[in-house]
Symmetry: C2
Subunit: 237 residues, 2 copies
Amino acid sequence: MSGEEIFFEQIRSAGCLSYLLGCAKDKVCVVIDPEIDKAADYVELAKFFGSAIHYAIDTHTHADHNSACKVLRERYGIKTVMHRATDAPYIDVSVEDGDEIKFGQQSLRVVYTPGHTQDAMCLLFKDRIFTGDTLLIGGCGRTDLPGGNAESQYQSLLKLKSLGDEIRVYPGHDYREAVSTLGEEKQKNARMLVSTQEEFVHFMTSRKPPLPRKIQEALEWNRTPIQGTQRGRGEGI
Amino acid sequence: MSGEEIFFEQIRSAGCLSYLLGCAKDKVCVVIDPEIDKAADYVELAKFFGSAIHYAIDTHTHADHNSACKVLRERYGIKTVMHRATDAPYIDVSVEDGDEIKFGQQSLRVVYTPGHTQDAMCLLFKDRIFTGDTLLIGGCGRTDLPGGNAESQYQSLLKLKSLGDEIRVYPGHDYREAVSTLGEEKQKNARMLVSTQEEFVHFMTSRKPPLPRKIQEALEWNRTPIQGTQRGRGEGI
């Protein structure tokens, strides 16, 4: 039963998607494409699952955000993993096409997919694939940044096309338009489906999720004028 | 023909969703829930449509990120709009339930929806509604932060339930899991559907989108060791 063998979280951060994937039995996990602002959060999340992070893996050299790999290595002694084509000078474990990245009783298979960058790889895990920027939902990574190559990218997409249709794609970004309809929400949104106010209030007040990380800073900023520029409160439309 | 009367963009930033909505005829637009890091980008985007931003509107006092309203007001003289229940001291135009926020020949109708915060409102525009954190896709804003109230939130969701099913929901965040399947991508992803390498390479190399904003910083960070901690290049798995 897959649900008991692994634990899995998708973490959004600054427009990027990171993943924590763990072996439930041996209590070890990996983090894929960690983003620097969330470095401590991944470690906490791993602890929440009673585990520790064994590898921090970047699917490629990111040009749009700072990787947390270096920080996870420095502060927590976590081993960093990238494809051997990378220039990054802080990598403990270099991998190549077909390699297995083992953590406990689980493992990720490296599928080398250059094109977005020269060091881009996807990571296949049973019926999931972590595609970094090689394949996005409805798109793919651009090929005009340093190390990009459109021909290689075409070949890499062909490689992914040869894999099974049922494999679930977990990309490094999600650029789709975020839209729904009121009809769909009325039908599917658990918060819209609660039938009494009492039930709703109980649902909303019985859990206390952690505060947003930047709540103090955000509320301070959003509730104060820029010094010396106050033009008085709203005047009505 | 709606496509010619307005222009519309959904902008993702640091986990938040902002919107630029404009009157194509009169070349004026509004920005909804702008995020501080993108302040200059909204202004540029408005220019791209040959227009200028008339109003910067916050659907509520955000507790998770810094609003750009203050900056847009200060640097660009854009008028700021919020519900009159807000505490924010830099608001030019205070609105309440039923008010119309006009820009050119278009207008947004205010639907007051307290609950996530005391000053939360949704903005109805023809067949679209901008719901801020009042209604998210598959969820709704929490009610345990400053100004939150679960009873009010229930009533506000009832109010939204009374609107038409066909109305499209554009929320302030998108917390859904980002996942697809290889089968779906093979069928629907334009990049996967290109049938020859030549065509693909042409497609990928004929456009030059702007560079990522933080490319210099990101590549610098991602390609250098933390000073004095280099342990040498990867050793193979």
